[in-house]
Amino acid sequence: MDVMEILTWLIPAGPLLAFAVILLLTKQNRTLSFLIAWAGIITALVLSWIVSFSVFGDFLADLHEVEEHPVRVSSSIAWLPIGDYYGEPVGASFVEGMAEEAHGAEEESHGEEAEEDSHGAAEGEHGEKAVPDETKSGTWFRIGVSADPLTAVMLFMVPFAVFMIFVYSVGYHNYGNPRGKFLGIPNHGMEEPMFSRFFAMMSLFAGAMLILVVSDNLLTLFVGWEIMGFCSYSLIGFWYARKYDDPKKTPPREAAIKAFMTTRIADVVMLMGIVFFYRTFGTLNFETALSAESLQNAIQLSSFGAVGLGIMALMIFTGTVGKSAQFPFHVWLPDAMEGPTPVSAVIHAAAMVSAGIYLILRIFPLIAVALKAAPAFGWTIAFIGAFTALMSATIAVAQNDVKGVLAYSTISQLGFMVAAIGVGGYIAAAFHLITHAFFKALLFLCSGSVIHGMEHGAEHVHDHHSDPQDMRLMGGLAQKMPTTFWAFLIGGMALSGFPLVTAGFWSKDEIFAEAWYNWSNDANPIGLFVFAMLALAAFLTAFYTMRQLALTFAGKPRSPLAEHAHESNGFMTTPLVLLSFFAITAGWVGIPDNFLGTAKGSIFYNYFHHFVGATIYVPLEVLYNAEPEKLVLHEIFTLPWSWIPLTTSVVVALGGLGLGYLVYWRKPLEEGQPDPMIAFLTPALHNFLHNKWYWDELYRAVFVKPAVYFSEVVVYQWIDRGGIDGLLHLIARVFYTIGEWFRRAEIAVFNDAVDWLTFRFRDLGKEFRAFQTGKVQEYALASVLVAVIFTAFIYGASQGWFDGVLFFLAFGN
């Protein structure tokens, strides 16, 4: 195994080890705990960046080579024995082979491409293989790691964002302050009593995310996926004892369950899709399964052809819909804001929700085939994305919780990415994924800083009833918290897509360009639909971002909380500065080759496009040129220049920001003044948006309550207690009655002869009756009944009465 492979294997190890060490050993020592967590994530960061930059270096050195062999690092080990019989036992050498396979599997994968390929092929063919390989110890399900350009960009972003959040968390949990007394609820201004536990869970989360990113197959990807789901559950419910007086507010413990269950619905469908995938391609390895030949084979062999693959793609995509909080599974994410803010930043902005997008990028060749197979698949994906983007943007407009706005904006931005996938915008989606992770993590951390400042104000004035997250109580924080303000401003501008400077502009522009090209060039109506919906959503995004900035920072403080807020400590502000840097610059690597109509590559070079595009360049090229008909809509290529998407994205961004400025910043809200939005939208519509289109209420009535009723009443009371047990009790009672008649007859007939025996039985009966309700006799009699029926049946069978029936049952016809 060469160095790069070892390093890739070790990427998730640091945080996972940190998790175990903190929980088992250093829980009591908080300083040591967070330092260990830092050490874990820093190790992961260094290793990731080494791998990431090595892949990027390969790309700079030879683009063509990377396109031909996008998987730069790959290594796998035998994990699950799944059969194949080896003929006669071969004694010692067989056992040795086993041991070698089990323990020294690393030795087999010496990194030479050819050998790797043969492994992949062996796994891929295990289904069809008629003659087992005698020299090896059987067919194994192999798991492994790999790094290609898509992995590389994720490896660049994820550990960095997570590390920033680790730094921030130390300050957020008031490290060094007097220790809080209450477990399971926030201790404002005091050091979090479950400080070590927090870092342990965050480390586990980071490890799981990195497992997901470096996985070379769907199974380990799913492992990381689910562990992240568990971490998300634990961390949303971190303040498990918190409760609210307001019954409309979801407490953390319920939010945690809601998040886990909503995503689990999607996950079981996804698991089905994975099984389908495995059964179709014979492997879960991405590189093997999603090569052009493998896809072509699958299309020919599958009974439904490419449409079958489309269904499979949609099943796996369902996992994305859950994890990335897309309609109709979006309801969990806003409630997930009940977790501590660093959790919202890392799990519900930077890492976990992006994992959903990462999944569909990973399987993109499959999605591409689906998009070509039937327009319905494209419509489904694009509609879910575009509708989610627009719907959550409208909801975000009417939210007053500073994190709530960001939650809906996250859902909305993820909708942008999904919609981009729906029009085949592989690179655009990946680009927006990366830039969004940086600026949304930044925004969440800023909002956490604001909340922290407000909580400080609340402590100062001893106000424990006002909500420190309510933007209506803020205002004027720009002077109180300057660093946070500037960072928030940068993040907000990036989110709005402020032209040319910010990262968000470039990535959003690419999505617009992709959608527009689909309409203008291919006359694909999905393109126009996505373009229009997203333009509207982008306008609203810019508007609500400006509204949020103005409500929080402009004007004068509207409450004593804001009056006494002050800037957060250095642990919290340093990450803001570093993330701000990427919120601006991350977009510059993706400036279109022919921006403003310049000759391709003469001034601008779209590094991101060519680098990430190399990941699936060859498979898409082959599928695009397939005979007799194309199997995908597009290959990876540079979009022709068009002014329309650029103008649109500039206009909606500046228009939204401008309108927000006019309404909220020029005349900042006064204390007690209602939001002008209410008058503008009419209270009814505002309520509808403020209450999130009432999805929660709908789901509760349609799914949750019936499920509880079905479980408690139908299945348990009716089927089990009433039906099955009732039948048993009935049989027992019937035969108890018959038995009673026999007993009476017996007394009458054998009055004297068996008197003694009868008395003995009666005594026995009394003893049994003492047990309760006479069920002893009932069951005993039931067994007699069974014996009688059985005897009768055997007698009948011996007479050959049932032969015809049984023969029919056994052999059909």
Binding site: W79, L80, P81, I82, G83, Y85, Y86, V90, V95, M98, G127, K129, A130, G138, T139, L183, G184, F222, V223, W225, E226, I227, S234, G237, Y240, K243, R253, A256, I257, M261, R264, V268, L271, M272, V275, F276, R279, A707, S711, E712, V715, I719, D720, I724, F771, Q772, K775, Y779, A782, S783, V786, F790, I794, A797, G800, F802, L806, A810, F811, G812
Partner: protein
Amino acid sequence: MDWLLNNIVTLTIFTPVIGGLIVFLLPDDEKWIIRRVTFFLSMVPLALALTMWFIWVDQFRGDPTFQFVQKVEWFPLLGSSYHVGVDGISLPLILLSAVLTPLAILASFGIEEKVKMFMSLLLVMEGAMIGLFGALDLMIFFIFWEIGLVPIYFLIRIWGGKDKVYASFKFFIYTMAGSLGLLLSIQIMGLSTGTFDIPTLMTAWVNIDQSTLANTAGIFSITTLKWLAYAAFFVAFAIKVPIWPFHTWLPDAHTQAPTAGSMILAGVLLKLGAYGFIRLVIPLFPELASTTAFILAWLGALSIVLGGFAAFGQWDFKRLVAYSSVNHMGFVVLGIAMMAYVYGINLNNQVDGVLAADAIMATNGAVLQMINHGLSAAGMFFLVGVIYERTHTRDLKQYGGIWSVLPVYGGILIFTSMASLGLPGLNGFVGEFMITSSAWNIFYAQVALSMIGLLMTGAYILKGIGETLHGETKPEWVGLPKMTLTEHVVIWPLMIMMLALGIWPQLMLSVINDTVTRLFG
């Protein structure tokens, strides 16, 4: 040493039985001594089982048929002999029994009433279970099957909860109803072939035809006989697994049993049923099992789904965990159905490579899932016992905020619950994945249905955690005593095994796989 190795299965079976007798001879009131002697005695079969395991891994990987075989003439008149041995399917289960019994003994150190009898019953129980897994003769198998019933009946009847009388009788009669048919069928098979030897029957009984039959029990038609025997076997083992709709004894028995009883019941006794399917039903009735495999698959899927819903509908923590067994064992049944479907066709060499590979994976998954469920269910019942001992309630509505009081217990409960939920990285996931993915080709409808059950698994596990640990701490739970050292000693080995099997399943799976691949060779 040779003597030890020649008799190792017999020793593993009978050392706990002898141990039970020794404990019974101890003075009544020396509880301290009784507990420790019992624990010490239960380490003997564990050591023997581990010896077998390591010898197997070292020597028999290349020849994974029955090993450590011992055959002694026992009842020549009937054609029954004392024939024991293990293969890659029974050995992991023997190991499971040998691991869980000492832990169950440790978990019952708190029992104060009739300690001696309790402890010796547990040891006798262990002997019966190991005997059943090791038996290669139907008569021996049946004897251990019946002996195993008695201790658990008394464990529930004497040390059980409020409704112990109802629960113990229900359990006993339910199982007896199954045993009755089982005994009759065993007699039929013995009479018509002249032997009770399981490996012999696998050819003798399977290939029996009307002419052979005429010499012995000629009044029956062979088709009828096979159907009768198959139905009886099916029902007997289905009750034990339990497969829906034969499951209603389980929630009552588990809920009322003492902690150790529940651990053994869920950990090992349920596996007897599934083991019966794999060891007896499918090899002895290949055609019939294959024809009816779809019924088994539907019942498995129904167990998963309805078991999941029923568990979610519970407010008694122990009953919730009990129903989770129905839910989890449903996956075993689904795997067994796949095995049954292919095994029957396979005999006539009509199976293509894909299907055989599926069946191997399904059977691997079913056996592994049995081990996994044994570990996690035993762990869950133990943890319910721990909390019950402190709060004296199992009502979920009365808990709340226990995590703040018992943080370590909370962590352990979450870990074990997650293993039970099938969180990838812990053991439960591997078996479920293998079973669902391999059954997909044939039983896709059932697999798809079972996904609803998988969803409900999440729902009831989270309900359990949420209602006990989360929320504000109720005043009555402030100051509950922390977990004792003994309790830690019980749960940690289970947790380590859950994690180890989740990360590196081949620890156990490679042994299982050797034998299973041979079944489809």
